[in-house]
């Protein structure tokens, strides 16, 4: 693996499988009464969050602590982040504190790439603007593998606001690396111009692809998209692209339903589906910790010879 995890495209197939396999080992630790490994004792992990995301920050914090790392939560929300000076100054401050890894969440696409130029430690992208969220894709793949036994060859349908979704971008890249067969479903307004260059198929018709899907991943649709005329109304969106009970019944028996959270119940997903047996939503949260433990462990040079070092 390279020093940073900025994009799912940074991961080769071997890297990605190594993360997933390592995450399996980490998951075993979590089943113990003492859920802690001494692996990263003396190392410092900084959670640098320019955007609120309690769920992702907590997941990384728990992952780092279970590896015995020192964790600093550096919330830059509220300070002036309109100027990049802030990011560079913050980077230099964290550098001076001896951060071994910086986990960054930022509203601007590419901010982790900028940060990586200014620090010596490892940078982990915990979601940048509408660009990527690679650990989400890793935990999604991990969840698929646990539920369905494999990722390769799976038919994965990603539904919703692909245009603004960092989860979709990272998932498309990682899933294609791992040999899954991805279909994006959205109203044409919520697909980016240029999507035809992505390693995925595109459909505007959810009903047409559901029966063939092994995995349906529903993306959050923010209500403000309606005001910007991406679609006429919440009701029409839900009718055409929401995963309601009727639609979910078209899925085959083993198919699973995923959601990266937070959900808008009744919009992109019906509560009965979100809470049903197909749903992996709770597992995804739990698996997030294992996968992030694996990422931090591998980036910070765990014992395995297959990891660490500058690539």
């Amino acid at each position: 693996m390279s020093r940073h995890l900025l994009s799912a495209a940074d991961l080769t197939r071997e890297d990605a499988l190594l993360v997933l396999d390592t995450a399996e080992e980490m998951a075993l630790v979590e089943e113990r009464t003492v859920k802690k490994l001494p692996t990263l004792r003396g190392r410092t992990v900084v959670n640098l969050f320019f955007e609120d995301s309690t769920r992702t920050r907590t997941s990384f914090e728990l992952a780092a602590k279970r590896l015995s790392a020192d964790v600093i939560n550096f919330s830059a929300k509220g300070s002036s982040v309109s100027k990049g000076e802030t990011l560079k100054d913050t980077a230099l401050t964290l550098e001076a504190m001896g951060a071994d890894a910086i986990v960054i969440r930022h509203a601007w696409s590419g901010a982790p790439v900028n940060l990586a130029r200014w620090v010596h430690g490892s940078v982990v992208n915990a979601g940048d603007g509408t660009h990527e969220h690679p650990t989400q894709a890793l935990l999604d793949a991990f969840t698929m593998r646990r539920r369905l036994g494999r990722v390769e060859g799976l038919k994965v349908t990603i539904v919703g606001d692909v245009l603004h979704s960092r989860v979709a971008r990272s998932n498309v890249l990682l899933l294609s690396t791992l040999g899954a067969d991805v279909t994006l479903v959205a109203p044409p307004t919520l697909l980016p111009v240029g999507v035809e260059s992505w390693p995925a198929q595109v459909s505007y018709d959810l009903d047409a692809v559901l029966a063939k899907s092994d995995v349906v991943m529903m993306l959050r649709v923010q209500r403000e998209r309606m005001g910007a005329a991406y679609f006429p109304s919440q009701r029409e969106y839900a009718r055409r692209y929401g995963l309601d009970v009727r639609r979910a019944s078209a899925l085959h028996d083993d198919a699973v339903v995923m959601h990266p959270g937070p959900m808008v119940r009744g919009m992109e997903i019906a509560p009965e589906v979100a809470d049903g047996v197909r749903s992996t939503i709770v597992e995804q949260v739990r698996n997030g910790v294992s996968v992030r433990m694996a990422v931090l462990y591998l980036l910070l040079g765990g014992a395995s010879p297959a990891i660490g070092g500058d690539a």
């Binding site: 982040v81 309109s82 100027k83 990049g84 000076e85 990011l87 560079k88 930022h106 509203a107 601007w108 696409s109 590419g110 901010a111 790439v113 900028n114 940048d128 603007g129 509408t130 660009h131 990527e132 960092r166 971008r169 980016p192 111009v193 240029g194 999507v195 260059s197 992505w198």
Partner: protein
């Protein structure tokens, strides 16, 4: 001081000649001229061109003197071979009154590196609502003939129509920054394959092309002159070609950076490559080169846009758009147009000197290399490659996208009305 410039080739053609400059004008052109009382400057076989004229420069003064001043910006211009630049109006305060344009013009005169022709804002405060006092700016000491809200588009069709009509009274021209604002809300880079991957909001080609099409039709309807700033797409070239084929009075410029750089550079998220209009695709670059070669695009203008370090050393989305370009313009034109045989040096003189001077109605610039003409001159060393170093440029800013690039030609000397502003590639 009179100069005898020895051993230069006008327009890069024929055998070397000597050129004597007396009282700000070309007094003599010939071979084996005697020194007389002239100071002799060895031209070293350089290409002799009329001093370059830039229709589109941001000098940032007044308001952002930390990024550039008229003094530093015009020195950069002289080092790039320019003897005149048009200074864009988006300063603080905006150049929308006679007072501000006269101040900028006077600062240019005082600096003395090149002439500064202020561009007047089309609308008060660049707000796109009320026409600025264009006639008063035209009648001022600054003699404004080019009007532009550059940085933003005059998007209101009715206001654009009236502005095009109004400036006919003093032979002015509206230079439009063509950008449909509703199609570019939050736009960060060219909309296409690369933006889809990088998760950066797209700036679609149609947002430029739709405004150009509308403005060409408006200019035709009212019989006015239109100049299109920084054309960046293949579709825009087609539209301008069409407008010219109708005989309409439409001119256009292309920047050096749009002649060579493409949108995939954004993958670095390095804001040095963030510019407005954005870098486009390789197909657009090819169309722009072809358009400049066949005359569809009339001239090269730099859109030199210096920015302070903190405005560029930022996340892509937070950084300001713009690139410096005065000191590298001729090198890029040589690399992309002259060396590949798309333009001769005589055509370079048209596209970087006589045509922009004509569009800007600038007297004394862009004149032929002939006895009796003003001695505004630029000497180009053809075999003098140099490597761009952001830290050692004359501009106060460091946002050149060409840092580390080797450019094939260098400016050896620049003369402004017979007085050297640059000699041996350094300030005179």
């Amino acid at each position: 001081m009179n100069y005898l410039v020895r051993d230069v080739r006008p327009y890069g053609e024929g055998e070397p000649v000597d050129v004597r400059l007396v009282d700000g004008a070309i007094a003599e052109i010939g071979t084996g001229l005697s020194d007389g009382d002239s100071r002799v400057y060895a031209g070293g076989g350089a290409v002799l061109l009329p001093g370059l004229v830039d229709l589109h420069t941001h000098l940032r003064e007044p308001g952002r003197e930390d990024a550039e001043t008229v003094e530093t910006g015009t020195l950069a211009a002289a080092l790039g071979g320019f003897t005149a630049v048009h200074a864009m109006a988006n300063t603080d305060p905006v150049a929308d009154t006679a007072g501000v344009v006269e101040q900028v013009w006077r600062l240019g005169q005082e600096a003395g590196h090149c002439d500064v022709a202020p561009v007047g804002a089309v609308t008060v405060g660049l707000r796109g609502e009320q026409m600025a006092e264009l006639g008063t700016m035209a009648d001022s000491a600054a003699r404004v003939r080019v009007f532009s809200d550059d940085g933003t588009c005059v998007s209101d069709a009715s206001l654009m129509r009236r502005a095009l009509e109004y400036v006919k009274a003093f032979d002015g021209v509206i230079a439009q920054h063509a950008q449909e604002p509703r199609l570019t809300v939050g736009a960060q880079m060219n909309e296409g394959v690369v933006s889809s991957r990088l998760g950066l909001t797209g700036w679609p080609a149609v947002a430029e092309e739709a405004v150009i099409a509308r403005d060409c039709l408006l200019a035709a309807h009212v019989g006015s002159r239109l100049h299109v700033c920084h054309v960046s797409t293949a579709g825009s070239v087609e539209l301008i070609r069409w407008a010219k084929s109708k005989g309409w009075d439409v001119t256009a410029e292309v920047t050096p950076h749009h002649l060579v750089l493409t949108d995939d550079l954004a993958a670095s998220y390095d804001p040095v490559f963030k510019v407005n209009p954005p870098l486009r695709t390789a197909a657009d670059v090819a169309a722009l080169r072809a358009g400049l070669a066949d005359g569809t695009i009339d001239c090269v203008a730099t859109d030199n846009a210096p920015h302070a370090l903190e405005d560029k050393e930022a996340e892509w989305g937070a950084a300001l758009p713009g690139m410096t370009g005065l000191e590298t313009a001729l090198g890029i034109v040589a690399e992309t147009m002259v060396l590949p045989g798309r333009l001769t040096w005589r055509q370079v003189a048209e596209r970087l000197s006589s045509t922009p001077a004509r569009i800007g109605r600038l007297e004394g610039h862009g004149r032929p290399l002939a006895v009796g003409e003003p001695a505004n001159l630029c000497l180009v060393d053809e075999a003098a490659p140099w490597t761009v170093d952001a830290a050692t440029m004359a501009t106060r800013s460091r946002n050149t996208p060409f840092a580390g690039r080797s450019l094939p030609v260098g400016v050896r000397a620049t003369f402004l009305r017979g007085t050297p502003t640059v000699l041996d590639g350094a300030p005179a």
